[in-house]
């Protein structure tokens, strides 16, 4: 059900998501944009990206 | 005068053997296939046979086998003279009772010597 390569990819994806969701990366996005901070917008975009990657990873037929 | 039977289906080879044997002082009779060879031997028994293997109809091996099976020709000197040069065929011929197995093309002198030696041996 979980070929080794897919497990490896998933672990890397989790690490990537954890990095995207935490400081210091989020500090980069914490900048005002016409009064309000970009932070929330950044989080939503990063979140959607991670979900998209996970869907792509988990819905493909495992080739191995 | 010793009588030699030449059995071969190649006319030119028969021609050369006939000449060689006559020159060596033997009487020569010929046959072009196994069937006629056996008839010839029954009609006028030769003192020696030069026998080819690839013959139309009965093969030379069969002729040899039949001759050795008959008491009259059990000790008849027979030289296999053939273009089949493989070791297995040579062994087969000797096992079936041939006195010698000579591969074509042959040395005329060696053949004549061999025929003479065998005839002397059987006469002794």
């Amino acid at each position: 059900m979980m070929p080794p390569r897919r497990t490896e990819r998933l672990v890397v994806l989790v690490i990537l998501a954890a990095l995207l969701f935490t400081p210091p990366l989020i500090l980069l996005a914490d900048r005002p944009a016409g009064g309000l901070s970009w932070l929330a917008a950044y989080l939503f975009v990063a979140w959607a990206l991670v979900i998209g990657l996970a869907a792509w990873l988990l819905e493909r037929e495992p080739k191995e | 005068m010793a009588k030699v039977l030449v059995v071969d289906d190649e006319p030119n080879i028969v021609l050369s053997l006939e000449f060689l044997m006559q020159q060596a002082g033997f009487e020569v009779i010929t046959a072009v296939d196994g069937e006629s060879a056996l008839t010839r031997i029954a009609e006028m028994p030769p003192d020696l046979v030069l026998l080819d293997i690839s013959l139309p109809g009965i093969s030379g091996f069969d002729v040899l086998e039949r001759l050795r099976a008959m008491p009259t020709s059990a000790r008849l000197p027979i030289i296999m003279l053939t273009a089949h040069g493989r070791e297995v065929e040579r062994e087969k011929g000797l096992a079936l009772g041939a006195d010698d197995y000579i591969t074509k093309p042959f040395s005329t002198q060696a053949l004549v010597d061999k025929v003479k030696a065998l005839l002397d041996e059987s006469a002794a």
């Binding site: 932070l39 959607a48 | 050369s16």
Partner: protein, 933 residues
């Protein structure tokens, strides 16, 4: 009051609908047509994570603390992404061991320890009660807002006076509802299909309600998102609303809250219930791993717009937790407000239903049943069917849990906002994480360490979060919070050991997890595990190893009758017969007769028969599914004599499985591959040997054919050399023979080369358009003289003016000559005749060469095309009369090769006109269009 009535009708109608859905799903499950066996339903049931706290509280937190509300959902996103790794392991173990709750799971992992199970159940009860209180508060609060909203913002204090009465009734109604809902079955089992279906529907309702109110806010109250954000940006007091500076604890607090949400998602009893216990198919996890984060993303999209809109429109006086309701109310949207209320109700009830069922299972299985079983005289005294008792205990537990929740809410609930209560609960259940996660991956983690660690962690949690909460509610002096216990500054609950600058949750989580993990690891390193604990630890950590739970674990002895009686007492009659029938179906040692008898319970002899290890294991599993693993173990021990488990064997299996199984699997694969390769090699070898044999044969034939002319040449050459006195005519004859035989030799070599080229495909033809009539005449002219010299009568019938074909003229001529030559050889001895005929036949040009010989027998007709095949020539008794040249036996194979390369055919038939054989060559007509050119 009309409004009051419509709200009550809507709320009860909604609950009734849920009940109908649950009943329908339960019926479908009994018919074997489960409605929840889908990754989508699984995902929606996981969304029970989003409670009233999400529905109302997210907006509140966004208004107070900026984007930090998202952490509560980013944490679970991370946890869910790990789902195929971590949660799958829990699911597989829980299925194999029939786990009923997280308390059961932890207890089973640490040697089916009933003390540890009880501790987990107690902690969960303490930690979750505020959370349930929060839902009650949300329902009553939202109801109050809906009933008593006035356009002039006066705050919710006016509504607060109504709360106490209302929330008690809400709790009561929910209690009855959950009893009907979760304990409908007479045989208590760990699965609740109906509940899962209802929860999935609730998740849809709350999602749609929240999105609708969000869209309403953005597009009806404002002119789209651009307008909303522009107006918010213009407000100076909102400048930092969305930045990290609004987050309590800053960057460290951010990480702390993320970790808190991550751990709580895995350890909340209701999440464990839907994620692990209610999972129908392990494969659903794969899709849910990204689908559930997507659900979270969608439900959070509208939080910030609503929060900003609320802050812009409502002023400072109103409670941000109610923005979701007050925004549509302020716009006079009664219907929309009612829908939002139902959405909030679904979020709250969903949580309360699952949480209460999970908690009541823990209370009955981990707290009450072990006590009942320990009091031996009492349990002996309980005669008859105990399964009814079990359900009774659960129902009482449900009522008590909701009562506790109500009391918490009524007494101290108001001190905290929605989010605060939720986070306090999160911090409490996070104390399960070390025991749970370390237990899954570290075999050495022991039960004593897990228990003490959890106690330490929960003590720190109580000191740093719970007691300060009491202080803020006025139960304890505030000086406790501000100056620390006994006025010791390093004991200040919000800055333990002087650690300052974190938000209170991260602060509490940090210290409690440190204490928890430290004690767990420290104690485990210095404690010997019991043998049962070793077995269970190995089973849990090796859960993903294939073929691990197959060994029969029981070595003791008991009778089938004793087991049946035991099951009957705790599970009831129907469930017992089902378990026994299932076990019999898989137990091959049991005869058909005993099988039927034991299911009926009639045959006394069968009941006296000893039970197989498989049956005992199955019985323990069934009991564990209803009572929890610790109690099931106690009960089975009470009827089984002798050694319960062959633990050494199990441990041996487990220790070696991971390596050995993998090794064996690879070996098997390798040997299968080798066998296959060997087979292929054998085949290839066979073919090679056959080819080799054919090659030997060919070489022998070639040498034989070459030797024949060479023999004549050498013999005559030696004769001519040795005989000086030879007549001239003799000499001339012999020389002529040498010449002829030399020619024959060269021809033969040429043919052998042709054949070799044909067979290897290197024979290059030069095809061009030609007239076969001309070519045939040309060939006839070439052979006419030599053939007739041999006494053969050669005639030709050519009916065509022209016959255009594509071919190589030289090669075709070679073929035609070869055919005529062949026919001449086989013609009759007396008056030999050969007839060549050229005609058109069905779009082909056909050349046939007949002779008047004996013909060729049907079985010989294909063999004449074999290499060196020479037909036995009819032997003239007189020897070689006609001086017929012998063929090499290669002419026909070569001819056939050439003709088929030109797209034609060559074969043998009976002659049409003459009596003998007929060799027929057919070539296709040349295409018309080419003819024109």
């Amino acid at each position: 009051m009309d409004r009051e009535l419509s709200v009550i009708v809507a709320a009860f109608g909604y609950l009734a609908l849920l009940f109908v859905i649950a009943a329908w799903a339960d019926r479908r499950a009994r018919q074997g047509r489960s409605v929840i066996a889908s990754p989508f339903v699984y995902t929606l049931s996981i969304a029970v994570y989003c409670t009233a706290w999400t529905f109302y509280g997210s907006v509140g937190r966004a208004a107070d603390a900026g984007p930090s509300f998202l952490l509560i959902y980013l944490g679970p996103t991370l946890a869910m992404l790990c789902g195929p790794l971590i949660i799958r392991k829990m699911v597989r173990t829980a299925r194999a061991q029939r786990i009923t709750s997280i308390a059961d799971f932890i207890s089973a992992r640490y040697g089916k320890s009933s003390r540890l199970g009880a501790l987990v159940a107690l902690v969960a009860l303490i930690g979750i009660t505020p959370y349930i209180a929060l839902q009650l508060k949300a329902i009553t609060l939202s109801h109050a807002v809906l009933m008593h909203y006035s356009p002039v913002p006066t705050g919710v204090t006016s509504a607060a006076s109504f709360l106490n009465d209302k929330s008690f009734w809400v709790a009561l109604v929910l209690a009855v509802f959950i009893m009907l809902f979760g304990t409908r079955h007479l045989d208590a089992s760990e699965r609740h299909e109906g509940m899962v279906a209802a929860i999935a529907v609730e998740s849809l309702v709350k999602l749609v309600a929240f999105l609708v109110v969000g869209l309403f806010t953005v597009f009806m109250l404002f002119d789209g998102p651009a307008d909303l954000f522009a107006r918010a940006a213009a407000q100076p007091q909102l400048q930092h609303a969305l930045s990290l500076s609004a987050v309590p604890g800053g960057a460290l607090g951010w990480i702390g809250t993320l970790l808190l949400a991550f751990l709580a998602f895995l350890t909340l009893p209701r999440q464990f219930q839907v994620l692990v216990v209610e999972n129908v198919d392990e494969r659903h996890l794969l899709r849910a791993s990204w689908l559930f984060p997507l659900y979270l993303l969608i439900i959070n999209l509208m939080v910030i717009p609503i929060a900003l809109a609320g802050l812009l429109l409502s002023g400072t006086g109103s409670d941000p937790d109610s923005f979701v309701l007050t925004l549509p109310l302020s716009a006079g949207q009664e219907g929309l407000s009612l829908f939002v209320f139902i959405g909030g109700l679904s979020a709250a009830t969903g949580m309360v239903i699952v949480e209460t069922i999970a908690l009541s299972t823990m209370v009955s299985n981990q707290l009450v049943m072990p006590l009942l079983l320990r009091a031996t005289p009492l349990s002996r005294g309980l005669r008859g069917d105990l399964s009814g008792w079990l359900l009774g205990i659960r129902r009482v537990a449900i009522a008590l849990i909701l009562l506790l929740g109500y009391l918490y809410h009524a007494l101290i609930g108001d001190a905290y906002s929605l989010v605060t209560i939720g986070l306090v609960s999160f911090a409490a259940v996070s104390q399960f994480a070390p025991a749970l996660l370390l237990g899954l991956y570290w075999r050495g983690a022991c039960g004593l360490g897990a228990g003490l660690g959890m106690l330490a962690g929960i003590a720190v949690w109580g000191y740093t979060l719970l007691l300060p909460g009491f202080a803020q509610s006025g139960w304890l002096p505030m000086s406790f919070v501000e100056q620390g216990l006994y006025h010791l500054a390093w004991l200040r609950p919000y800055a333990l050991f002087g650690l300052d600058g974190l938000d209170i949750y991260s602060h509490s989580l940090l210290w409690s997890l440190m204490a928890n993990i430290g004690v767990l690891v420290g104690v485990s390193l210095f404690t010997r595990q019991s043998r049962l604990e070793q077995t269970q630890a190995a089973l849990f950590t090796g859960a993903l190893t294939e073929g691990i739970d197959t060994a029969p674990l029981w070595q003791g002895q008991t009778t089938r009758g004793a087991l049946r009686d035991l099951l009957k007492r705790y599970l009831g009659g129907t469930a017992t017969s089902r378990v026994l029938a299932e076990a019999n179906a898989t137990d091959r040692n049991t005869s058909m007769e005993a099988c039927v008898a034991s299911a009926d319970g009639e045959n006394a002899a069968a009941m006296d028969a000893s039970a197989s290890p498989q049956l005992i294991a199955r019985a323990e599993q069934a009991l564990a599914g209803a009572l929890g693993s610790a109690s099931a173990r106690v009960l089975i021990n009470s009827v089984v004599r002798g050694e319960a488990l062959d633990r050494e064997a199990v441990l041996r299996i487990l220790d070696s499985t991971s390596q050995t199984l993998e090794y064996n699997r690879r070996l098997e694969q390798k040997s299968r591959e080798l066998a296959r390769i060997g087979e292929e090699l054998r085949g290839a070898n066979e073919r090679l040997r056959e080819l080799d044999r054919l090659k030997d044969e060919f070489v022998a034939m070639v040498s034989h054919e070459l030797r024949t002319p060479l023999t004549s040449i050498r013999a005559f050459a030696e004769i001519l050399r040795d005989s000086q006195d030879m007549p001239d005519d003799k000499r001339a004859q012999f020389l002529e023979v040498v010449v002829l035989e030399s020619q024959r030799l060269s021809r033969l070599i040429e043919e052998i080369l042709d054949l070799a080229r044909l067979e290897s495909g290197r024979l290059t033809l030069h095809p061009k358009r030609l007239d076969l009539v001309d070519l045939t005449r040309q060939s006839l002219a070439a052979v006419q003289h030599p053939i007739e010299e041999r006494g053969v009568h050669l005639e030709a019938i050519i009916d065509l003016d022209e016959a255009q074909v594509i071919g190589d003229p030289d090669r075709l001529e070679q073929v035609i000559i070869n055919l005529i030559d062949n026919a001449a050889k086989f013609a009759a001895d007396q008056a030999p005749r050969v007839l060549v005929r050229l005609e058109r036949h069905r779009g082909h040009i056909r050349l046939s060469v007949e002779d008047n010989g004996p013909g060729i027998a049907i079985e010989e007709r294909e063999r004449v095309f074999e290499k060196f095949h020479q037909l036995a020539q009819q032997s003239p008794a007189s020897g070689h009369t006609r001086g017929r040249p012998r063929g090499s036996g290669l002419g026909l194979p070569i001819s056939r090769g050439i003709v088929s390369q030109l797209g034609g055919r060559l074969w043998v038939e009976d002659a049409e006109t003459l009596d003998g054989a007929s060799l027929i060559m057919e070539l296709p007509d040349a295409p018309r269009e080419m003819q024109a050119s």
